[in-house]
């Protein structure tokens, strides 16, 4: 019974994360669409920034999908399903950027955009995975991703060399990342916390004596 309640609460947190406003408050905009996002008015700097934001979300979606595949191959279906949902959420965020910018597709090959950091801001390194990991671990990983994304956006918002419109937009996006962190923390409270020996495998891959 308690498990069922937990699952329902976790589903609510997930649904809120999925529908949380992303990228310049798209959910609120109707006729009051800021001039800066209208095709004719927006600057090159703004387009570059949005292309980066899109690349960040798309890279995150692709990596979560890869993580889901890895977990599926190792028959950790529960975590696979969670990563699949996270991939879907990030993919939706990326798609929303395309819609906001009214880009039918990326106007230039952003995949050639080379991040100067080892990983894109919202993407976890592959070494953070473990075949016996639990949903709590996957959410903790997602939380760290959101925190890194926030720091990345904050650094853009604070840089005086960026145009004001870009800084303002970056600050709004950083705020959204903080909101996502709050939702993930809420979600984490509703999944079981792993036992200290969670990684112990009764049938380990290493050969016995």
């Amino acid at each position: 019974m308690r498990k069922k309640r937990r699952r329902r609460a976790a589903a609510r947190s997930e649904a809120r994360l999925r529908t949380a406003p992303k990228r310049s408050g798209a959910a609120k905009r109707t006729s009051a669409t800021p001039a800066r996002l209208r095709p004719r008015a927006r600057s090159r700097a703004l387009e570059d920034f949005m292309a980066r934001a899109y690349a960040m979300e798309r890279d995150a979606a692709e990596r979560y999908a890869e993580f889901a595949d890895q977990m599926e191959v190792h028959n950790n279906q529960e975590v696979a399903e969670l990563f699949r949902r996270l991939a879907e959420i990030e993919g939706r965020h990326a798609k929303r950027i395309l819609e906001e910018m009214r880009w039918p597709q990326m106007p230039e090959p952003v995949y050639a955009f080379a991040w100067q950091t080892p990983e894109p801001p919202e993407t976890a390194p592959v070494t953070e995975l473990h075949y016996r990991m639990q949903p709590w671990h996957a959410l903790a990983l997602a939380l760290r991703n959101e925190e890194r994304a926030e720091r990345f956006l904050e650094s853009i918002a604070r840089s005086s060399t960026n145009p004001r419109e870009v800084r303002r937009l970056a600050a709004a996006m950083a705020e959204e990342e903080r909101e996502h962190q709050r939702l993930i923390r809420e979600w984490m409270e509703r999944v079981p916390r792993p036992a200290p020996d969670w990684s112990r495998d009764p049938d380990p891959p290493v050969l016995g004596d």
């Binding site: 692709e62 890869e66 595949d69 080379a114 390194p125 050969l207």
Partner: protein, 276 residues
Amino acid sequence: MNAPGGAALAPQSFKSDIKPVWCPGCGDFSVLSALTRALALLELRPEQVAIVSGIGCSSRIPAYTTCYGFHGVHGRALPAATGLKLARPDLTVIAAGGDGDGYSIGGNHFLHACRRNVDLTYVVMDNHVYGMTKGQPSPTTEPGWSSRLAPGGTGMREFHPLVIALASGANFIARGFSGDPNGCARLLAEAVRHPGFSFVEILSPCVTFRPDQRAWKDLVRPAPVTPTDDPARAARRLMTDDGFNLGVLYKGNRPPYAPARAPAMPFSELEKEFAR
């Protein structure tokens, strides 16, 4: 190099539908990601690229791409890749594998591929262990690494692939770390662009049999030197290298091996030889 008659592709276009069976956490996932990103950066198309491998965990990589692939015999990635490049110089040929496959079973081929300097790229995903066969020490395993299969360690000095590559004539030598897939993508793109035999060693942790390698992320650092084309200077650097300096460490200017495109002797002359 550019994709003919079409827009450049995204990295995902180079990934096949086959799901890798590597252990979760394996560095080879990042190498796959870096490789597909590099091919996108180079604006190639899958049908312009062939990936040739030997045997081992990392040698499964051709199946995970949409490029032409050849998953060959243990240690024999380089002779197959060399033959392919000579027969099809229009293809971008990439040989890939692990440290056991490349430095032990295929060690002799490694020396001669460096010496021949055919225009191809060799990527070695080095995890200092035979992962597929459950954790035996490989040529690059540290002498003191003790495990159930090698109690007390092998006591044998490890192989130094970059020094060997330089001494044998490789024209481009670099080291990457799988924890930096973007950096690896740039290295791989540069290696493919550089003419001749390009050798890229990528430190790729085996989290199952060498969980201690998770600490590599704290040990690696960008090499504090600029690439050199002077083999003597490169040799001094590599001989004092601790194995964790990342980046391009040698960029030679030896022209790649290019076979004559026409026979040295007309067939009619050859026939006369047999007629005697």
